[in-house]
């Protein structure tokens, strides 16, 4: 009891400025980040519970219960990571990368086929989607490689290697087919280079290469008789440009999503929601969860969820600046990029301004692999935060408000 009360007495005696510092030190992790996560978890569970009542006959809370379990498991793992010395990950970088590749290949060999795609391995009653965990693993792996070459970042060789390391798993994921995850890997790799400090000219070169690659995939390859993208993927990628043109095929989901969100108006339709509840919008509990929020709770609800994400991104960037080393900073940057990219593409998709790519909304969409992987990433952020603070404290540096 006395041990616990000692710092408190310190606080009382301390000048106002120190008071903040000591109070911050009393909590061993970023509270605001935790609050954002808890807020999103509550929103996710509420949205899933209300929109999936009729989806599984005889079990109105099927998805809700499972999502709650995912959050619980992910939450525990996330807490466990707070005190984890992430420097270990840098040492085990090849193991991490190897595990990433192995799990993606395992899906190819052992995976079960769902909705025409082979994306997951059955683990008991759950489906493990390797590409989701892969998002976190690739953040770690790329950050380690970037940190290794911290002094040679302005060499073309470094940029090429890092890109190659990212593109190999991306290519494997793309043929699953899981175009969305492949794009996320791409975003992470660019973010890694960006935060590590790769010169601007390298980015310009990458953009030029990317433009060539895209025109190869979309124009030249089909002309030569080789199709890299599936027809439905191309339809999805382009249908957002004209959502009402073909409301029965590729544009259907997006059209229904727009109706759902638009019909929510300012304060939402609440229990009168029909679009998402009566299944006019398929995948409403997974990729289109934002439409559920938009329809049931309107602009108010959707803005709240977006604000929580903004909070998350802000905290992520803040943790990036507090990292004790380049590895931590780049890893935090990768995680922030991963979250921001997914949030923007997913929400944009439900709003009809981004193509349908099968990217889930992190921490909102139903799905164990995504929820647990994202919470692991959040745990890593917390670890970077904690270790950044500890290092600053030992070095006499404290960053606080």
């Amino acid at each position: 009891m006395s041990a616990a009360s000692t710092p408190l007495r310190d606080v009382d005696d301390a000048p106002p400025r120190d008071r903040v510092r000591v109070q911050g030190a009393a909590l061993p992790f970023d509270v605001v980040l935790v609050l954002a996560i808890v807020g999103l978890a509550i929103c996710s569970l509420t949205a899933i519970k209300s929109s999936t009542v009729d989806d599984i006959a005889g079990d109105p809370t099927y998805y809700f219960k499972r999502q709650a379990i995912f959050f619980a498991v992910g939450g525990v793992l996330s807490l466990a990571l707070i005190r984890f010395d992430y420097a270990l990950l840098r040492r085990a970088r090849w193991w991490v990368y190897g595990f990433l590749m192995a799990s993606i290949l395992a899906v190819k060999v052992l995976g079960s086929v769902a909705k025409g795609a082979q994306r997951s391995i059955a683990l008991g009653p759950f489906q493990f989607q390797a590409s989701e965990l892969g998002k976190v693993l690739i953040v770690i792996a790329l950050a380690s490689f970037a940190a290794d070459r911290a002094r040679r970042l302005n060499e073309w060789d470094t940029t090429a290697r890092i890109m190659l390391l990212a593109l190999i798993p991306a290519a494997f994921v793309m043929v699953q087919p899981d175009l969305g995850s492949a794009l996320v890997y791409g975003a992470i790799s660019l973010a890694t280079l960006y935060f590590a400090g790769t010169p601007v000219r390298h980015f310009l070169a990458l953009i030029a290469l990317g433009a060539v690659a895209i025109s190869m995939v979309l124009v030249i390859a089909p002309a030569a008789g080789v199709s890299v993208l599936h027809g439905y993927q191309k339809d999805r990628l382009t249908s957002f440009l004209h959502p009402s043109a073909d409301t029965n095929k590729a544009g259907y989901q997006q059209h229904q999503s727009l109706i759902a969100i638009g019909s929510g108006r300012k304060t939402g339709r609440g229990t009168h929601a029909t679009q998402t509840k009566d299944n006019f919008l398929p995948e409403h509990h997974t990729d289109f969860i934002n439409a559920v929020v938009g329809e049931r709770w309107g602009f108010v609800g959707a803005a709240l969820v977006l604000s929580l994400y903004a909070l998350l991104i802000w905290r992520g960037l803040r943790i990036l600046t507090m990292a004790k080393d380049l590895f931590g900073a780049v890893m935090a940057g990768g995680i922030v990029a991963m979250l921001l990219f997914q949030v923007f593409v997913n929400v944009g998709m439900t709003l009809g301004i981004m193509p349908i790519t099968g990217i889930p909304l992190p921490l909102m969409s139903y799905g164990g692999s995504s929820v647990v992987s994202t919470l692991l990433a959040i745990g890593l952020l917390q670890a970077i935060y904690v270790q950044g603070r500890m290092s600053a404290t030992t070095k006499g540096r404290i960053m606080s408000h």
């Binding site: 638009g262 300012k266 006019f280 602009f299 903004a310 960037l317 600046t321 507090m322 540096r397």
Partner: protein, 701 residues
Amino acid sequence: MPFEPGSGRAPITPQLAVRVAGAGVIALILFGIVFFRLWYLQVLDGDKYLAQARDNRVRTERIAAPRGNVVDASGLTLVQNRKATVVSVNPQSLPVSFRDDIAAYGQKAGQWATRKKALVASLGKTKGTKAAGTAPARPLAAGPLMTRFRRLATVLEMSPKTINDRVVDGVVQVPYANVRIRTDIPAPQRTYIEERENRFPGVVVESVYLRQYPQKTLAAQILGTIGQISGTQIKKAAFKGIAAGTDIGQTGLEAQYDKYLRGTDGQYRIDVNAAGERRNATVSTEPKQGETLHLTLKLELQQAGEKYLQQVGGGRPGAFVAMNPEDGSIYAMGSYPSYNPRDAAPGRYSTDAAYRAKFLDAATDHPLVNRADQSAYPTGSIFKPISTLAGLSSGATTVGRIFDDTGCYQTGARKGIDEACNAGHQSYGQINLIDALRVSSDTYFYDLGKRMYDKLPSQPLQDWAHKLGVARKTGIDLPDEAGGSIPSPQKVKELQAAERKCRKENHKASCGIAFLDSSWNPGDESNFAVGQGGLQATPLQMAVAYSTIINGGLVPTPHLGAEVENSRGYVQKIDKPTRRSVKIDPAWRAAVMEGLSQAANKDGGTSKAVWDQGWPRSKYPIFGKTGTAERFYGPSQIEQDQSWYVGYSYAGNAKHKPILVVATVERGGFGAATAAPIVRLIMSKWFGVAPKLVRGESTDR
């Protein structure tokens, strides 16, 4: 520990700080875009999307309105409705591949039918058309669809193949409407299917109203039939807003007054989910039954007329019209043979051949045709009053002029060939115009025809026939009324032109339409004057012509519809048709009426015998004219007499309105023998005189 800015490693490199700031700006922009878009969708356009969401969820389904009843002048029911359960299949529930097969089959079957038709036309017979190939086979459902058909077949007690064929034929005919599989199923079967909705996907069980005809075959051609609206009909303006699959009037009064009888469909409002499963159904609009159509028809007279036409006519085809000559309202109108409209209802016959055998083949004597207004015949002597008016008005004859009837008349120069005689070569001696009508002297009218021929280029006979409505549509409120034909110099030229064209196109020596070497000659005009020689008119047209003479010039428009009454009892008169009038000198009319009176009452009158036994002449005076038209039947063109009679009477009191009856029986012999007795019996019913069948013995046409 105090804050020491100078100690240790700088917090972050300036470069990283810039990049983090850049990332922050990017994040800010992205969130800005998303917020703006969200605000645009939800706050600015929200109402539009809310409306779309509601449309999504609510589906409407048609509740077919019962058609209006049809009743006679005293409100006795001729057509009503009966509720029945119908099992249909929604074509949208069929797999796309099967629908594609059906579409391909429909195309092939259509081509085959066209080929076969062309072959039949070129051969002139139905045998030996094997060259057209066999009819394409209907596609057969497979897999789960066949299982569905089999399951349904077991419940409905029919074969799965029949269900398959009905679905195929239905989709070929009207691709978007539900296909009726079975009409009138018992309640237990209905319940069985309804309680197992998910076992019968795409099967629709609904209540429909079927037409019911308590009088069976009575007035069938007048009442007409109903049937599903066709692909071509649905595009017409008259049927705007009518849903596919609706039964509409296809023939007769059902078609003529469809807009009144049709009613207004109601609507179910059905809440559905995305899979189309019903959540809740409510009646949002009650269906409104069509209006009740009141006819001028008198049920009892109609029954009597049809009975006598059949009995006296000996089962030969024929027709009668009984109407008020003053206003054109029709009391009764019948055609034999008739049919039960119930049998002509859609979906009653599985094949076209079965339908044809019952309604269209030559052996059926064409029951669908209303011979009273859709068949044009030569009229024989009942045309003579019209010749009389033409003769008087043109000055070709006078009432008092005496003509020496020697029994035969020389129409041209050639002896024996250009000669026409009275029936039985009867010679009537010195006769005037009234006598000529009484005895129906052909020679008098042959001579009159020649006299009018001499007036060319004026054509009094053709003009009068046209003015009185002969070979001219009467404007009756029935669809598909026939016109007819009046012989004339122009008509001969028209026919010869057609013959020439036909010979040229078909490279034939003769098409049999007209002789090219002959022209309009006095004999043609003489023939026309006795109601032959190419004259073609319907019984109804003759009724109108006689009514005009009786009215002294006013041409009535015959009609059956009197008024329509909606469900709230609001009665609306059907617009009275416009009438035209013809100028008839009262003296000419008096001459014709005198002739008609003498023909029915005075010694030597052609139909005197028919009215002799027990007809109260003083109470109900009779005016009548017999007709015996020479008409050619069958492929070998055997000449047979068609019996005609026109009778008119009035009671001179308010209880009985005047009545004009025209009757004709194909191959019925002389006018007095068959048609006149039918007219007497119909009039007996009208005036309440004891019915008595008296066949005339006159041998005069």
